[in-house]
């Protein structure tokens, strides 16, 4: 009996120890990768290059938070980390979205748009409060924004559960943050995090036109960040993931009880990434000469994994045959069709 207890105890201790080791290795690897990729301040041309590359993003939108957090509601960290990564320093502080103007007062030059007066506070029958939009107004972002500046937008999400907290805090009314990216195809694009219900495999990190944001998001503020003056033309850059797609990683997340989730997810994501040449944060690479970039991806790969780029068009791994917009995805003809479309559009303009 005593022997059995000892064996069980040993097994429990060994299991716990292996999880602790996995967590420590995972945390260390994550911190090291971040420090390697945010090792120096980037030049304005490099920042512009990254922002341009964001709107030319490949199928899998990059994330700038550790993969252990991909299933979490961290819209503020998503934006702050993305900007910190792009400028190459720990500049913005990540906290609650509604505290953004306070925690990042050092980085904000001015509020260029404020329609907080279009909102009022409504008291629910149960005594809780909610922030409601009284007046919806049209506006033109191009008349507000200077293309040489960096902006963060504060949105209020209709169904947020944080209105009481937001009102108690009293800093601002927004429950959501988005990073305003450059124009493309005549549209203003944003980078942000939205977990859409019932679409579990869908990458929650989005790069989408402002006008395509769901109606539940009301723009309240736009803040202009200080010190960064972007050139009109940035470095020719590609930004790509050497990461497993979200649909795969998500199965390694949200494990264990809430108090252990962070530790388990960090360790498990690290473990999963050992089975291939995978990284957590995007890779930035300049494009020179012929316009070809080899991302140097090795190891086990998945259908659609990005291997390189030519003139901004990505070269992918082909494994399965799925019909796409340009032919059977990632076959040789599919790339030729994408590249021909690029050539056609470039010569047609």
């Amino acid at each position: 009996m005593r022997k059995s207890i000892v064996i069980v105890l040993c097994a429990v201790v060994a299991t716990l120890a292996s999880f602790v080791i996995m967590f420590l290795l995972g945390r260390s690897a994550t911190e090291q990768e971040w420090m390697d990729k945010v090792a120096r301040e980037r030049t304005p041309a490099e920042i512009r290059g990254i922002m341009n590359a964001m709107v030319e993003a490949p199928l899998e939108v990059p994330n700038f938070v550790p993969q252990s957090m991909l299933d979490d509601e961290v819209c503020s960290a998503a934006v702050c980390n993305a900007i910190n990564f792009s400028v190459g320093k720990e500049w913005l502080k990540c906290g609650s979205a509604w505290r953004f103007p306070k925690t990042n007062a050092h980085a904000i030059a001015r509020t260029v748009y404020d329609r907080s007066k279009d909102f009022s506070v409504v008291t629910n029958p149960d005594g809780t409060r909610r922030i409601a939009e009284d007046y919806d107004r049209n506006f033109w972002l191009t008349s507000i924004l200077d293309p040489t500046k960096v902006y963060v937008a504060g949105y209020h999400y209709h169904d947020t559960l944080h209105d009481d907290e937001i009102l108690d805090d009293g800093t601002s009314l927004n429950s959501h943050l988005a990073w305003l990216l450059p124009l493309k195809d005549g549209k203003r694009w944003v980078y942000h995090l939205v977990h859409r219900p019932n679409q579990l495999d869908e990458n929650p990190y989005k790069i989408e036109p402002v006008e395509q944001l769901p109606d539940e998001f009301d723009l309240v503020y736009i803040w202009e960040l200080r010190d960064v003056i972007l050139p009109e033309v940035g470095d020719k850059t590609v930004l790509f993931n050497k990461s497993l797609p979200f649909s795969t990683i998500r199965h390694w997340l949200n494990k264990g009880p809430w108090f252990a989730e962070y530790y388990l997810d960090t360790g498990l994501v690290w473990l999963r990434n050992q089975f291939g040449d995978y990284e957590q944060f995007p890779v930035v690479q300049k494009v020179n000469g012929t316009g070809f970039v080899d991302f140097g991806v090795t190891g086990r790969l998945f259908h659609g994994a990005v291997l390189g780029a030519y003139m901004g068009e990505y070269l992918h791994v082909h494994i399965a045959s799925t019909r796409g917009l340009y032919g059977l995805q990632y076959q040789c003809v599919e790339f030729v069709n994408r590249d021909s479309t690029r050539v056609y559009l470039a010569t047609a303009i």
Partner: protein
């Protein structure tokens, strides 16, 4: 653009796609942006392979491609020898299927 035909159709049916075909060994040297088509013949029953030319030197032609593997690893950029012989330009295929020719986009000559 979802169904545009097999790779070899970009040479054998080039005209219908708005392309101009040049056979391997012909008088026209490949150019950057040309589509390099690998195939044994119009009626060989093989879909062939296709790549985009990214540089042309005196002795080689380099290209980018999807879905070509060597030793179980994807090869997305490669170069093949280019020879000028008896008035014709020849691209040798090494471990690729035979180079049937190259197609020029946008009617460029």
């Amino acid at each position: 653009m979802t169904q545009t035909g097999h790779a070899d159709s970009y040479l054998w049916q080039a005209k219908s796609k708005g392309l101009v075909a040049y056979m391997n060994g012909g008088k026209t040297k490949p150019k950057v942006h040309d589509l390099l088509v690998f195939d044994s013949g119009d009626r060989d029953g093989d879909p062939g392979h296709i790549a985009v030319v990214i540089s042309v030197g005196d002795a080689d032609v380099c290209f980018v491609q999807q879905n070509f593997y060597r030793n179980n690893a994807s090869v997305i950029r490669d170069c093949l020898p280019l020879v000028h012989r008896d008035g014709g330009w020849f691209v040798t295929n090494n471990d690729y299927p035979p180079v049937a020719g190259w197609s020029r986009r946008g009617g460029e000559r």
